[in-house]
Symmetry: C2
C-alpha cells in the first residue's frame, strides 16, 4: 500500500460531505423496501408484513484484522459477511446495511474505494443494499462498523433459546479453517517483517487462507433446510469459534450438551496445518473465529431428513443437564467445554 | 480514573459472553415493538404500519471525545443523543438502539457500567430501548458505535431535499455553544496537563460546558412545530456545525440560501467566551460540532405561526440560486459560506 501513493487522492482534499456524495454514487442496488438511502440523516425502509431484524458489528484494526496481509477489498467483503451472518442466524434474509468507517490520514480516498468495492461485491452476491453510513476521521487505526438489517416472518424467527432435550446438534460446513489460515498468515507476516527477505509461503494453503480472508455464508445449505421443511429449534452463527456459540445456545435454552470429537467437521488442509503447528485442530474449532458457519438444533425425528442434506454434520446432542457441556474424545473420555475468555 | 483502580473488575476476568450477559441485565425499558432484544444474533422489531428509520454513528476517542475531561456517563449519554438526533431530523421518533463498544484493557468492567449508565439515562429520557450490541477488545482507544432506529409515518418523513424557493430557514435553540465549551475544556486540559498544578477554571461557563458534555434534543420545540401543524419542507440536524448542514440541505434541494449574521442565535456565554478567545462566535456556529439543534425550512406563509413558537430563530431564506450560499454581514456585505473541510 505504501508503494502506490503517487496518484492517490488525500482524504483531506475532499470535504466531508463531498466524500459522502462521492461514495453515494457507487452504492449498489437499492431495493424496493428502501424508501430512502444514503444522503439524508437516516435511512428509511418498510418491512412489509415481516419483522425487521437488526445486528451491529465493529471490526477494529489490531483486533479483528491486520492490514499487512488483508487486502482492503477483502476486508470490505468480510465486514458484510460478519454483519449478515447474524441475520441468517435468525432465519432471516439480509436487506439493508449501514456502513460507518473511521479512517486516518495515512489512507487515501482510493483506499476507501477498495473497501467499498468489497462491500459492494458482497452486497450484490447476498442481495442486500447500502442504506447509509458515514466516514469519520480516526487517529487510532481503521475501524469499520457494519449494521445489517434483515427481514423474517414473525413465526419463523429462529432464536438461540429454542433447543430441546435430545435435539441433534448440527453445524454447517467445516470448522477451524479460518483460524488455521490466520495462524499461517500471522506466521508468514512475522517472518516477512523480520526482514530476512523471505517471501511468504502460502501455496497449497489456498482453502484455509480463503476461509480467513474471504469467507462466505453457506446459503445453499440453509436453503436446503428450508426446502426440506426441517424444523430448526435453535440456531446461532459461529463467528467467534464453536465454544462460545455452543455455550450461548445452551445457556439461552437452559440445557447442556454432549459433543463428539470425531464428528466435528475439519477440512484436511486445516488438519495438516494444525499438525504443522503442532496443535490439535479442535483448538481452532472451539476458540478460533471467523468460520461464519451455523450451529443449530433439530429434533431427533429429523435424523433421516438431515442425513440427505449436503454440508451438514451432526456433532452431538442436547442434554437436560443445564450448564454441563461435554466433549467426548475418541477414547470415550469426557472433558468439559468452556468458553474462550474475552480479551485474553 | 487512574486513581480508583483498587476495587475494579478487569474486563479480561469476564468471559466475552459473560460480559454481554452482565450488560443485558441492566438494559432498560424494552418497548412493545421490540420482539427480541439483546442476547441473540440480532434484534427483531416490528414497525406497525410505519416506516423504520435507521441511522448509524461512530464516536472515536481522539476524534470525537477526549476522556481527560469527558466523564464516561456523559459520553454514553451523548452517544445516544448523536444517534437519535438523526431520527428526529427525519421527523421520526427514536425506538431502538444498537450499541457496540470497542474497549481496551486499560478499562475495567465498572467503566463500561458508567458508559451504560449514561446510555440508559438517555434512553429513559427519550423513550427508546437498547435492542442489542456487543463489546470488542480494542487496542486503539475507546470506540462507541451507535445505531438508532426510529419510526415515522411514510407521508411524514422530512427529507433534506424538500426546501423550496423563498422558504424561511430556521434553526432551533442557539448555536456555537458546544464548540466554545470544547475550546474551553481543551484549553484548561492543556494547562492542567502542562503540570503547573493549576486547577481547571470552569466556573461561570456551565452552559457552554453542558452543551458540549451533556447535550439534549430540543424535543419540545419540535413538538410545538407539529402541534401548530407547521409544514416543514426540509430538515437536518446540526451535529457537525451549521455550514455542512446548511450546504447539504441546499444541495439536496438544489437551491441556494441567504443567511443573516445578525439573526444567528448565539448565547451570551458563547459570545463572551468567543471574545475571550478573540474569535468571532460565528466560527463555532458554522464549523463547530455537537450543537444537536435542527435546521429546517418552512413556507413564508407560516411566518406568523412560526413567530409564536419559542426556541426558534428565522435566520434566512432559500434562494433559487443553486450552489450560491451567502451570509449577509451587519454592514450588508455578503460573503460566501463554505463547508468545513473533512479531516483537517
Amino acid at each position: 500500500m505504501e508503494k502506490e501513493k503517487k496518484n492517490l487522492t488525500p482524504i483531506s482534499k475532499l470535504g466531508r460531505y463531498g466524500l459522502s456524495e462521492y461514495l453515494s454514487s457507487s452504492f449498489p442496488l437499492p431495493s424496493e423496501t428502501l424508501i430512502l438511502g444514503p444522503g439524508d440523516d437516516a435511512a428509511a425502509f418498510t418491512a412489509d408484513e415481516e419483522v425487521t431484524l437488526i445486528s451491529s458489528d465493529l471490526l477494529l484494526e489490531g483486533t479483528h484484522f491486520n492490514l499487512v496481509y488483508t487486502p482492503l477489498t477483502h476486508l470490505g467483503y468480510k465486514s458484510v459477511i460478519r454483519g449478515i451472518s447474524d441475520i441468517y442466524a435468525m432465519g432471516g434474509i439480509p436487506r439493508h446495511l449501514m456502513v460507518n468507517i473511521g479512517i486516518g490520514s495515512r489512507f487515501a480516498a482510493e483506499h476507501i474505494d477498495e473497501i467499498y468495492a468489497g462491500i459492494t461485491k458482497a452486497c450484490r452476491k447476498y442481495g442486500c443494499d447500502i442504506a447509509g453510513g458515514d466516514l469519520s476521521s480516526s487517529v487510532n487505526g481503521l475501524i469499520i462498523s457494519i449494521t445489517a438489517t434483515g427481514s423474517v416472518r414473525k413465526d419463523r424467527i429462529i432464536r438461540r433459546s429454542g433447543a430441546l432435550n435430545n435435539d441433534i446438534l448440527c453445524v454447517t460446513g467445516d470448522l477451524g479453517a479460518a483460524y488455521m489460515g490466520l495462524q499461517l498468515l500471522e506466521r508468514e507476516c512475522h517472518i516477512f517483517e523480520s526482514g530476512k527477505g523471505q517471501q511468504p509461503q502460502l501455496t497449497g494453503h489456498e482453502y484455509i487462507i480463503g476461509r480467513e480472508l474471504k469467507p462466505e455464508i453457506p446459503v445453499s445449505t440453509l436453503n436446503s433446510l428450508t426446502e426440506e421443511s426441517i424444523p430448526i429449534s435453535s440456531m446461532t452463527d459461529i463467528s467467534d469459534g464453536l465454544a462460545p456459540s455452543l455455550l450461548s445456545l445452551c445457556k439461552a435454552s437452559k440445557k447442556g450438551c454432549r459433543l463428539f470429537y470425531d464428528k466435528i467437521p475439519v477440512d484436511t488442509e486445516t488438519a495438516s496445518m494444525a499438525e504443522e503447528f503442532n496443535m490439535d485442530p479442535v483448538t481452532g474449532v472451539f476458540g478460533g473465529g471467523d468460520d461464519f458457519e451455523f450451529l443449530f438444533t433439530v429434533p431427533v425425528s429429523e435424523y433421516e431428513a438431515l442425513s440427505r442434506i449436503k454440508g451438514i454434520s451432526m456433532i452431538g446432542h442436547i442434554t437436560p443437564d443445564d450448564g454441563i457441556y461435554k466433549l467426548v474424545l475418541p477414547d470415550q473420555q469426557e472433558i468439559d467445554i468452556t468458553s474462550r475468555g474475552w480479551g485474553e
